[in-house]
Subunit: 461 residues, 2 copies
């Protein structure tokens, strides 16, 4: 069996490794444009901040490591054609000193093709976006270029206050730059946090010296040859560096070329991660998934999602039936000392989509009150009007990630706030409170639910 996988990120390589687990003989080839493989793009900001020493550290494997498992990896190669009638892909290598294609093409036959082409950063179509000093951030190469430029730079504007934007902002602040984050929407992390929780993260960033400008769209990048500033309708901001962290669009070109059906957001796949072309699978940022709460198509551009999808695709390709479940987009981030996470729907998203919800809140501590080093923790729990938990957000300087996972499991299992409020959790003074902050939020949600059914006021927001 011949399997060709396009993409050397988490989705592509995990598919390769997982197929090998089930099929010792399959001929597996991974093909990628990138020079590096098997690195964690979400770790790039931590190299800038100095928490990780160097970019080499975040590369987990070299192509040679895969050869040991009889997986062939071709780097710096671009797939130029997919022929579904012949079951062949055609690729050209990139020139060693540029990203132009070499003349010669090579063909690779496949029994199964896996498209794991990921996403590409979106550059807003504004004047000056192509000036020197304007950067996108996706690959290690991008990270290296940013780090180099930042060493001779003093004022940076990061455009976009999603996770990557904020993490990069913090990294550049730690490098000593004067950092401003600009977000068009009226809050940071709009995809994952509700305003009251976003404000907590924003205050932390500001306490670390990062400026935040909200609710203002950039009109153009000023400068002749090189960036000199950012121009808003009513304001100008000086800058010698701009990072465009304005989102990522799924890279669907090859899928389209192969005749795979696209959905609302990206490549359409069934629960087996199979596209509309039966022997072509797709995984990772280039596919769309189903939201576990709304049942609607959505995106889940997370490394953890890609890896879970890769397992499912690999099993099905190897003949072991397996289904990818709808997603909750469980996420967590750590910026400096602050950890924050979210799973399921935000209150804003839920209400904009016509769901009536109530919100349970708690502000408590991560350890017993008297135990040194106890940190404040904030929890926001979103429930439907029967009490079913549909979302949760947490912020603290420790112990957030695993609580996000607990809530992911709770939401996946359809747990209500009433049930969670009486659930058994562990306790020891150095690591928890006798009543966990999650339980307190669930108790508060139960109260809010009662109030709502009396007053019709959900007390959210």
């Amino acid at each position: 069996m011949k399997i060709v996988i396009i993409g050397g990120g988490a989705g592509g390589l995990s598919t390769a490794s997982n197929i090998r687990k089930y099929d010792k003989k399959a001929k597996i080839t991974v093909i990628t444009r990138d020079e590096n493989i098997a690195y964690s793009p979400c770790a790039i900001p931590y190299v800038l901040s100095g928490q990780v020493d160097q970019f080499q550290d975040i590369i987990m494997h070299q192509p040679e490591d895969y050869l040991e498992r009889d997986i062939k990896v071709i780097t710096r190669a671009e797939v130029v054609e997919v022929s579904t009638s012949l079951n062949i892909i055609r690729y050209n290598l990139l020139e060693s000193d540029s990203n132009s294609l070499q003349d010669e093409s090579y063909d690779l036959p496949y029994d199964y093709l896996v498209i794991a082409t990921g996403g590409a950063p979106i550059t807003p179509p504004i004047e000056g976006a192509d000036l020197k000093g304007v950067f996108k951030i996706r690959t290690i190469g991008d990270g290296e270029t940013i780090k180099e430029w930042a060493q001779h730079s003093s004022k940076v504007v990061v455009v976009g206050a999603g996770l990557i934007g904020l993490e990069i902002a913090f990294g550049l602040k730690k490098m000593g730059l004067d950092v401003t984050v600009n977000e068009m929407l009226p809050q940071i992390v709009p995809r994952s946090l509700d305003p009251s929780m976003a404000t907590i993260v924003q205050k932390y960033l500001e306490s670390e010296g990062i400026k935040v400008i909200l609710g203002k769209g950039m009109e153009k990048v000023a400068g002749q040859d090189q960036v000199e500033g950012v121009i808003f309708e009513d304001d100008v901001l000086e800058a010698d560096m701009i990072i465009m962290a304005t989102g990522v669009r799924p890279e669907t070109k090859l899928a389209k070329m192969a005749g795979c059906e696209l959905g609302r957001w990206a490549v359409k796949v069934n629960q087996k991660m199979q596209t509309s072309v039966p022997n072509i699978y797709a995984v990772g940022d280039c596919v769309e998934v189903v939201d576990a709460i709304t049942g609607q198509p959505t995106q889940s551009p997370l490394g953890s999602t890609a890896v879970r999808q890769a397992k499912i695709a690999a099993k099905n390709i190897a003949g072991v039936e397996s289904e990818f479940k709808p997603v909750l987009n469980a996420m967590v981030s750590k910026i400096g000392e602050l950890e924050f996470g979210s799973v399921g729907l935000t209150e804003s998203f839920a209400t904009h989509n016509g769901l009536e919800v109530i919100c349970g809140k708690s502000r408590a501590l991560t350890k017993a009150r008297y135990y040194p080093g106890a940190k404040r923790i904030d929890v926001l729990m979103i429930c439907d009007l029967k009490g079913r938990i549909i979302g949760c957000q947490l912020i603290a300087k420790e112990r957030v990630a695993e609580r996000v996972d607990t809530m992911a499991l709770a939401i996946a299992k359809g747990v209500t706030c009433q049930e969670l409020a009486t659930t058994e959790f562990s306790y020891a003074p150095p690591v928890s409170m006798v009543i966990d902050p999650i339980i307190l939020a669930a108790e508060d949600a139960c109260e809010k639910l009662k109030q709502f059914h009396t007053t019709r006021n959900n007390n959210c927001g």
Copy 2:
């Protein structure tokens, strides 16, 4: 409505506070032998180790604090009689300079009585157990006495390698003593950990300079007036201090006096926390509970259990129907830097009780491999032969407690290893691995299950 609560620990005081939430007018009286109330006995070891400054710090409230909520607290008082025909308890105050009773008795009428008398340390019936320098550990008073004696002591033997024994051993080691832990059984923490996991904790204790003697029962305590050593069948250990951490028995005297039915282990209660006497409730270490996996009566001497029971008892007394669910005994401890926890059944307990199980294991990291400070984490997951998870144990130098809670929820919801293996968790390099150690253990359990159904070998142990 008049409510009398006997016991000033977590169970008694939480019952009082919770009743007040639902009933603003009830006359609530808490009565306790202890001089202090509202402290966390499980925090005593952390005062010895110096992690918490002083014993006063672990007292969360004074009796006056309860008066603000119109809850009367009577300390240093012993209940000498319960009359269920008159619905009255009789108590005597203790002498101010001794624990003898004063002559005068007082009567308190009740509509509802709550028995929250906790447990009393078990002293093994051996020669020399009453010598000076032999200590039990339960109250702050015990903690103070131990700390004082330890300041003039050099060699201590802690008898019993349960949680309290080990935590106290670590505390005394930090005070500079030569510490030996002696456990009759062949492993430490026999109630919560299987041998392979117990060994990891034991090695940590030994690396901290604590000696551990297993599988040997003490025959007598040597000494004239004061402890000089511990005598085993084939060995003698010099010591000028001994801590008996040999377990706690439920304090059921008053319940018996009131005619409440006792079960196999302690006071019998229904799901409302009601004893066999309709207007007498009982909560905390003095009651027995139902094990969620076996359905059998068991004990759950945990502060967290007492607090959850208190809420249920309070609601029912206040007329809000509520049920206490069977327990999983989710526990966690932190000794020095090492955190370990357990929930559900151990493999040993399960097999001794005739359950056939398989064990999934993982040894992984708490952060991405390249992120500085990643710690090793060990997971042991116990499943029945259909894959239903019935127990889980975790050890690492961080982030254990919340994972125990995730597993408590998983077990409570009847999740299988197959289901958990495809569950969505969050990921970010500074706080987790892209595939969580729990998921890895679930995947391993799935493999073991397949192997078992082929080879009938469960690979546990």
